[in-house]
């Protein structure tokens, strides 16, 4: 017991300057965390969902054309205003989507690839969707 008392008695505690430094460092860490936390949220899954549905829209119009015997068209066939989206607080800076279509294949069957691209936070994103479309023969 006496030995323990001696050991504890010889221990030096924190000095005030240590505590001040610790406080300053902790405050900086807290500031950085609070600043960085909102950036952790990532809306790209929602953007992908929006993009995928835009690709489906393009496929719907391509299938409709094919059912009437028309060849697939490379441009976006849906509603033009659908390409501008202000979801998730992007009211002031709406996201512009672009839809590109590439068609390969011969005969009645066409392999169609629709690529939807967008830019968010200075980064470029894109999704690709593929489908086979049969051109109906009209006599």
């Amino acid at each position: 017991m006496r030995r323990l008392k001696n050991i504890l008695g010889n221990q030096r505690g924190f000095m005030l300057i240590n505590v001040v430094f610790l406080t300053v460092i902790t405050s900086f860490a807290a500031m950085i965390l609070m600043d960085a936390a909102p950036r952790i949220r990532n809306n790209q899954t929602s953007m992908r969902l929006i993009a995928l549905n835009l690709a489906n829209e393009q496929f719907a119009y391509l299938e409709s054309r094919a059912a009437r015997g028309l060849e697939p068209d490379a441009g976006f066939l849906g509603e033009g205003e659908d390409l501008i989206n202000d979801s998730f607080g992007n009211e002031n800076m709406p996201i512009n989507f672009t839809v590109e279509t590439s068609v390969t294949g011969g005969g009645n069957l066409r392999s169609v690839t629709v690529t939807v691209k967008w830019q968010s936070g200075g980064e470029n994103f894109e999704i690709e969707s593929e489908r086979t479309i049969r051109i109906v023969e009209t006599s």
Partner: protein, 195 residues
């Protein structure tokens, strides 16, 4: 023996008499500052987690609604769209009739079941209801009332192009927790429309 100021402090430090007032006065604001910082960060993390869950619910429900409507519409043989202005919002009521099973003349069981089924999508109290019978009752919505965050439908708009057999759907939903909105536009080709 009289001690000067330095000597008195040295004497105080040697004694294990606890904190002096000045130490306590400095330590307390520092402690409060640290506690405030930690509490702020914790509160912020909880707030962001809550919003993130609410946004996840919003996204999932929007995806579910759009997939359910487009899948039903894909097999539709007829569609009726009623334009409605509810809560100062553009909200349509849509009724689809579709074949539930393939028409297989060799299969007697399928032929018995081969009837046109009806599906009605109607918004009531800003929640979407998928109903078989239009009896006016709105008891089981397929959106909203989620424990992790309620949602509401701001816009549900369907445009039918009978010539091209295309149904264009626009859906905008809003989270009641985070206030974030998601707007999805899509279209579906209905090969069996009018048959």
């Amino acid at each position: 023996m009289r001690l000067n100021l330095k000597g008195r402090f040295a004497l105080l430090k040697r004694r294990d008499g606890g904190f002096v007032l000045i130490e306590f006065a400095i330590a307390l604001p520092l402690l409060i500052l640290i506690a405030w910082g930690l509490a702020s960060v914790t509160a912020k993390i909880f707030y962001l987690s809550k919003n993130q869950l609410a946004d996840y619910v919003l996204e999932t429900e929007a995806q579910y609604v759009i997939e359910r409507v487009t899948q039903r519409a894909r097999a539709a043989s007829s569609i009726t769209v009623e334009r409605e202005e509810k809560y100062n919002l553009k909200i349509d009521k849509i009724e689809l009739k579709y074949r539930a099973v393939n028409d297989d003349p060799e299969n007697a069981n399928l032929n018995v079941a081969d009837v046109l089924e009806r599906q009605i999508f109607v918004v009531d109290n800003k929640k979407l209801h998928a109903k078989r019978i239009d009896d006016g009752a709105s008891t089981s919505p397929i959106t909203g009332d989620n424990y992790f965050g309620g949602t509401q439908i701001n816009l549900f708009h369907c445009d039918l192009n009978e010539t091209e057999k295309i149904l264009h759907v626009t859906l905008e939903m809003e989270s009641l927790i985070s206030g974030h909105k998601i707007k999805i536009n899509t279209a579906v080709f209905m090969p069996g429309y009018g048959s």
